[in-house]
């Protein structure tokens, strides 16, 4: 009898403890909140983003000396939780970040879906919500006031690629589109289709495949039968590997293959055992080897902030404690930190509405490239993409010509 009361009491006490809020955020700090995807289906991108953010915060605090507000240098702090790549986690964690940790800005979780899930909460608390992982244009048609995008819109990914191929081979006509059926890849496909038609190409094949696909053989056989010259497609990591691998299995030799997301990652070449990856191209927001520099910024008349590329990479490695090369997820997230710092300094205030207004007007350049958003919707318009190609196990930037680190191999070598 007594023990049962005791059991119940213990339960209540434990619950009470778990409910209790913990420490308040210390003043005189700017806190960046982030419901990160550390586990679940976006774990890979989540890890990269955390690394990128940590690296840039490190740079701001230790190299730059802190954010200059009202004549004082204030350090940045980073507070992140794991949302498990799930929408329920995002909403509750964002609220916790805003109310308990008193963060000054919220970074979105990876993917368009999770970005959308968190937006209403941020909106309710009138909190600047910076999106480095949701590429869907539709996010910005919902009337959210506090959202700002760093990642370029999905529809632009393959535009440059097609321009490049037209530049090198004006006769190439037959284009095949095969993308993953995800928000991001569909945007890319839409953009690519429109642009290909504008360039006078004929689209001989257009299909999507679902997420998590394990065998593309039927789709690729179909594509082979349509005899395309240029293949653009992809979506995420695993299907990008599968795509090239099974194209090789089926001996589909075309003049150019460009895959979004996966092809640009270092692991890609290794996973395909090298040879198959040779000549495969991929568009990217940022790639190790892109040469954006303060000098370049001056040339186009933009402010420069942040570490140089090599500095960023070493800070990134330090932040994660692992010897991995940052990819565009890291660069995006990192650049987002710099954008926030820039906006706060421009306004000389941390007030949410003012910062949001400043972000709307902000134009600058960093190691990530240009940054400029549409003032009303918050959509990214200033960032341009690069195209890279695997050549002898190295990622060579082949487009745009002014950023190129090597010459395009065209047509690509046979599988």
């Amino acid at each position: 009898m007594k023990r049962s009361y005791l059991t119940i009491t213990i339960f209540i006490v434990v619950f009470g403890f778990l409910f209790a809020t913990n420490a308040f955020a210390a003043p005189k700090k700017l806190v960046i909140g982030h419901p990160a995807c550390l586990s679940g289906k976006y774990a890979k991108a989540g890890e990269q983003a955390i690394g990128g953010i940590k690296a840039c915060i490190d740079w701001v605090n230790n190299v730059y000396g802190g954010v200059l507000v009202a004549g004082k240098r204030i350090p940045l702090e980073y507070k992140y939780y794991d949302c498990e790549s799930k929408k329920e986690g995002v909403t509750s964690l964002i609220e916790r970040l805003i109310t308990v940790n008193k963060v000054n800005v919220v970074f979105s979780a990876y993917s368009s879906g999770l970005t959308l899930a968190g937006a209403p909460v941020a909106e309710r608390y009138s909190m600047v919500y910076m999106d480095h992982g949701g590429a869907s244009d539709r996010i910005f048609q919902q009337g959210f006031k506090y959202i700002v995008q760093t990642i370029g819109p999905g529809s632009k990914y393959h535009v440059g690629t097609l321009d490049m191929i037209k530049y090198f081979d004006p006769k190439a006509k037959k284009v095949a589109l095969a993308y993953e059926d995800s928000e991001f890849a569909r945007m890319t496909m839409g953009g690519a289709e429109k642009h290909a038609k504008k360039l006078g190409c004929k689209i001989v094949f257009k299909r999507t495949y679902p997420k998590g696909v394990t065998d593309l053989t039927p789709l690729l056989s179909d594509m082979k039968a349509r005899k395309p010259e240029i293949v653009v497609g992809g979506g995420h990591y695993e299907d990008g590997q599968l795509f090239a691998r099974q194209m090789s299995d089926l001996d589909i030799n075309v003049k150019a293959v460009s895959l979004v997301a996966s092809a640009t990652l270092p692991a890609y070449y290794k996973a395909l055992g090298g040879r198959i990856a040779e000549g495969v191209m991929g568009p990217s927001h940022w790639e190790y080897g892109v040469t954006f520099s303060p000098k370049g910024a001056k040339k186009v008349g933009l402010d420069w902030i942040g570490p140089g590329q090599d500095e960023f990479v070493s800070l990134f490695k330090k932040a994660l404690g692992k010897d991995i090369i940052p990819d565009y997820h890291a660069a995006e997230a990192g650049a987002q930190v710099l954008a926030y710092v820039k906006a706060v300094e421009n306004m000389n205030s941390v007030d949410q509405d003012k910062v949001r207004a400043a972000l709307g007007k902000l134009k600058f350049m960093s190691f990530y490239g240009g940054w400029d958003v549409d003032d009303t919707t918050g959509m990214q318009i200033g960032h341009s993409m690069v195209d890279m190609q695997w050549q002898d196990g190295k990622r060579v930037i082949v487009w745009p010509l002014e950023a190129a680190t090597g010459k395009l191999i065209y047509p690509k070598p046979k599988f």
Partner: protein, 330 residues
């Protein structure tokens, strides 16, 4: 309008302007060409489907065996396939051994895992309501995923086993796929002989039929339970190796989930309790999966890939209702 829909534009929908600009004769000749092409495609896809089906079949045998003997649906099935994939990957990339050698290694690792999970967890759940066993196997799957993530990271990996390919008039087949198929058939055949010719195989079959009866006849039922679970897991892990011979990329800790659902469909097609049924159902499933894609692609305005997957699940659903003993069952 009708003509255009019939003959013109199978490839993509909604682009009527281009279609309209084509002359009628062109449309007609296109139609003949198109039909011939579709038949070629179908034939090629069916060959690939058959090859893949063999691996699917083997990958499902473990699930059926475990359900047949201890009446537990292994919801973490796919995660054991993932373990197999990592075994193959590690042996190839770190030790430089061909996947053929990884097959027995995977069997041993899988059986060890099987015995471990049986004696720590499953033994206590055999007579429990299915709710608990479903959840327990699911939790095992998550555990494997997270451990794999801890060891290998969340990267998508792959390996390249260069053994050439053969080119047929209708399609190209990489040798590694062919080896995987032959391997699957050999293992299934071996298992069949083992089940029917050896004492212990007979004991397993008797427990499957009637565990009480077998107990009365002096079969050590709890040992058979443990052994069958271990063999089931061993088979599953082994099939993971064969699967990487088929699709040697995209290996990552979270790759298993999709295979679990596929294995369910196949196991049900095969009657859920019969490993051989599962093997043949795997072949049929492979054929349907690849064949249906080609046919669905003819319908304008739909996405054939998800429709194929959807078809598989509706098939499972109706089959369960109409004939729970499976396509090949009595």
């Amino acid at each position: 309008m009708k003509i255009f829909v019939r003959g013109g534009d199978f490839i993509y929908k909604g682009n009527t302007q281009e279609t309209l600009s084509e002359s009628l004769s062109e449309v007609f000749s296109n139609r003949v060409k198109e039909e011939k092409m579709i038949l070629t495609l179908l034939a090629g896809n069916l060959i690939h489907g058959l090859l893949l089906g063999g691996v699917y079949g083997l990958a499902t045998m473990g699930l059926s065996l475990i359900f047949g003997v201890i009446n537990v649906v292994n919801v973490g099935h796919g995660q054991f396939i993932m373990v197999g994939a990592f075994v193959a990957l590690t042996m190839f990339t770190v030790l430089g051994l061909s996947p053929v050698i990884a097959i027995p290694a995977a069997l041993i690792i899988g059986m060890a895992l099987g015995f471990f999970f049986f004696y720590t967890v499953m033994r206590r759940l055999i007579r429990a309501p299915e709710l608990t066993s479903l959840l327990a196997t699911f939790a095992m799957g998550i555990l494997l995923e997270e451990i794999a993530k801890l060891i290998f990271g969340a990267d998508f990996r792959g390996y390249y086993w260069a053994v050439g390919k053969i080119t047929l008039p209708i399609t190209t087949i990489p040798m590694s796929k062919l080896y995987a198929f032959i391997g699957s058939i050999a293992i299934a055949l071996f298992l069949y002989l083992w089940f029917s010719k050896t004492r212990i195989g007979t004991a397993i079959r008797s427990v499957m039929e009637d565990s009480e009866g077998a107990r009365v006849c002096g079969v050590n039922v709890s040992w058979i339970h443990a052994l069958s679970f271990a063999i089931g897991i061993g088979l599953t892990v082994m099939s993971g190796v064969l699967l990487t011979m088929f699709i040697p990329v995209g290996i990552n800790p979270y790759m298993g989930g999709g295979y679990t659902l596929k294995a369910f469909v196949i196991a049900v097609l095969g009657g859920l309790t019969s490993p051989y049924g599962a093997f043949f159902a795997g072949l049929i499933f492979g054929l349907i999966e690849n064949g249906a894609y080609t046919l669905f692609a003819l319908i304008p305005g739909v996405a054939p890939f998800p429709l194929t997957v959807s078809l598989a699940f509706w098939m499972l659903f109706f089959l369960l209702l109409v004939k729970p003993t499976g396509l090949l069952g009595k």
